[in-house]
Symmetry: C2
Subunit: 435 residues, 2 copies
């Protein structure tokens, strides 16, 4: 049986688990791959750093360049742009297959990496980059190769799902739920990349690229985080039968929607409580796909963590090894879709709008009229009257769920609504999916 | 661009959709596959039969042999054992890749077909055979190739899920729910293959084979259907926080379980209402997988229907075409697991037992003692007293949920319980998963 040399770059949470499994499960992996997968070394910055897993000290090196030059398979788990980018390109040029979980690099510079892999005829795989352990990229690329995906809705960031789930369950404010997530290790000390949606945006670009056979970059993704979601937003959504999730969305629009192309975006989104994604709790991830023939599909599992993500890395590694052993194609992605990325203004979705209005006759009619004038159709309109016990002043809260409308039409409608004298304030404007 | 000839065998519900998509989406499929996929003919028994979709009459032929001889890719959707088996073998020997949805043939004679495909170095794919549109076989084979699956729980038969869901929602008896399923087209006039679990058993054999890298045949699968599940069973389960689902189960047991190997079985199963599979309603399918590193995964979608199943067929077809164009390995399944199939007696699970008992002091203690003597540990024991309003006679109902125990130990316990003078009757014995 042939032996393939595996170079591991990086030995954090995921890398350490990958190394452990490569050593512990060597026989099983060899049987699956058709070749021995020999861990030839682990490139790290500090060879004496403390690791999550005990590993043979002689494997560690700071010389990533030499390690890569001698490898048949390279696993890149360093993260960040450089030196990861240079090392991956060098590995591909040497004819090594590369497995990476580096979503930031893929979202920023994917086309360059893919081009190099195609030129060398080797595999570049990155199942671990989106939704951790969940097999989602291979099903999109291969299983749905004969179908047309129309929409992808993904809960692809465990930190924000945990925070929103906490807020939904306990009524906590964002800051308190974030603190709890940090205490439990679900959020980092600097949570910006997660809570502002940047991590989800990189994953959205990857999901959109594979789903629509066109390379989308990070700059094509409209991104809003969850830091402005309030306990009041969550409570109002709950009351109306919705849950708020941070979704990565990639959706094909056509002439009927007013714009032709793909809208790729990340933002807090209301979902009906009976939607399959609404039942995704804690730090779990899930990706919901709508395709012309397959209909609705959902993939659910752990989106992060050392061992789960290592499972995705090793699935890619065994597949790449098989292709080296049996001789086979590197290239299995197609980018012949050539659909344009649409700006957020062209996105079409439903909206939830909360309004604090004067309690006067005719208010509802005036607001409804204004929506109609802007071409935004109302699906549900509900008014609740509050009376302040002390002052005895009545105020009215109006909650509106619209049918699908463009961002531009909605923005214009909200502007117009703000100008009405009967409006005290617009309390929330949130997008709704799955209705 | 190269042209590949595609022979379609069978033109029922799924076949007609496959033909439609091959014609309508020819350009997209060519771009994805890297070759034109030309539908060279459709073999049917009667070329003039009425079809679901309008297709060019000149494509139809009764001469399947000639069609197969001239094809690069063969799609078999005739079902049944012969002539499907002979035609598939002939195609593989000619070096054609074969895509099939024939679960009965695969469960009965999979090893022969795989051997032939390996010999010819071509792909034999069958994503459509299990859970319709849901990409499940490729994720198990490729994405989880570096992990160890420990358990698979699948809702893989839409008919029985619809019936059980109806019974759960409306309180209907089995016969009425079946009649409703037949009226809506979810169940056939002769529903035996579905309701007795035979269809699910063939899928269980396929799922077990891929998950445990060992070929399991239909005879390795213990099979019980749902025709004996009563409205009272469903109501009692509901009352205790469970839902009853027909599950296809493949589970690895080791020494700690008293037997080493894989238990493959199909039977009505109680699931806690908060389990992800409990939320799979109507005719939908889902497969829940537990793996050592990945943890819990779930795949959800439509398990049947023309277009959804055609999506799975075409995903396989495009992948097979890519391998023909780029030159690549046919064989990507491994069968080096060599784990034995266990008989149902060795299966280890939890149980729900309903007992009608005499309302006397000390009854609970005697029953608990008897369970302990047989090594079956009780997790929950709940007694409800009923008083007949007319006769004023009291009777007691006892509901027991056990910890994990072997079938053999449970059967012995139930036999012993029946012998107690304080037992009026054993009202139900059902297996429980997901607790």
């Amino acid at each position: 049986m042939r032996t393939l040399k595996v170079a591991l770059l990086g030995c954090g949470n995921v890398g350490a688990q990958v190394a452990r499994i490569l050593i512990e499960d060597a026989d099983t992996l060899a049987a699956r791959a058709g070749a021995k997968l020999q861990l030839s070394g682990i490139a790290v910055r500090n060879v004496h750093a403390k690791r999550d897993v005990e590993l043979p000290q002689e494997l560690f090196t700071t010389d990533a360049d030499t390690l890569v030059k001698d490898a048949d398979l390279v696993i890149e788990l360093m993260g960040g742009i450089e030196p990861a980018r240079t090392l991956i390109l060098s590995a591909l040029r040497n004819g090594a297959c590369v497995v990476t979980g580096n979503k930031a690099l893929l979202a920023q510079d994917g086309p360059t990496l893919h081009e190099e892999a195609d030129k060398a005829g080797v595999q570049l795989s990155y199942e671990a980059a989106v939704a951790g352990a969940i097999p989602i990229l291979r099903p999109i690329r291969d299983s749905l190769a004969g179908d047309r995906i129309t929409r992808v809705l993904g809960i692809v960031n465990g930190t924000t799902n945990f925070i929103l789930d906490q807020m939904d369950t306990t009524g906590a404010q964002f800051a308190d739920a974030l603190a709890e997530a940090q205490r439990l290790g679900y959020a980092e000390a600097d949570p910006t990349a997660d809570v502002e949606g940047h991590d989800a945006a990189a994953k959205a670009a990857i999901l959109a690229s594979l789903s629509f056979h066109t390379r989308f970059a990070l700059e094509n993704v409209h991104c809003e985080g969850i830091s402005s979601v309030t306990a009041a937003d969550i409570a109002a959504a709950k009351d109306a039968g919705f849950v708020i999730k941070l979704l990565a969305i990639a959706e094909k629009l056509d002439d009927a929607d007013g714009a032709k192309g793909v809208s790729v975006r990340v933002h807090p989104t209301l979902l009906p409580r009976e939607h399959p994604l609404a039942a995704v709790h804690g730090a779990f991830n899930a990706v919901f796909i709508e395709a012309e023939n397959a209909g609705e599909l959902m993939f659910y599992g752990q989106g992060a963590g050392g061992a789960p993500t290592a499972s995705a890395v090793l699935g890619d590694l065994v597949s790449a090894a098989r292709s080296l052993v049996l001789g086979g194609p590197g290239r299995t992605e197609t980018t012949t879709g050539h659909v344009p990325a649409l700006p957020i203004d062209a996105a079409v979705t439903s909206y939830y709008i909360g309004l604090d209005v004067a309690d006067q006759p005719g208010v509802l009619a005036r607001i409804a009229q204004l929506f109609a004038e802007h071409g935004v159709s109302i699906e549900i309109m509900r008014q609740t009257i509050h009376r302040d016990a002390e002052s005895n002043v009545e105020s009215a809260e109006l909650r509106i769920v619209t049918h699908r409308a463009s961002e531009a039409a909605l923005a214009a409608t909200v502007e117009a609504v703000k100008g009405l004298d009967v409006i005290n304030s617009v309390t929330s404007v949130l997008r709704v999916e799955g209705v």
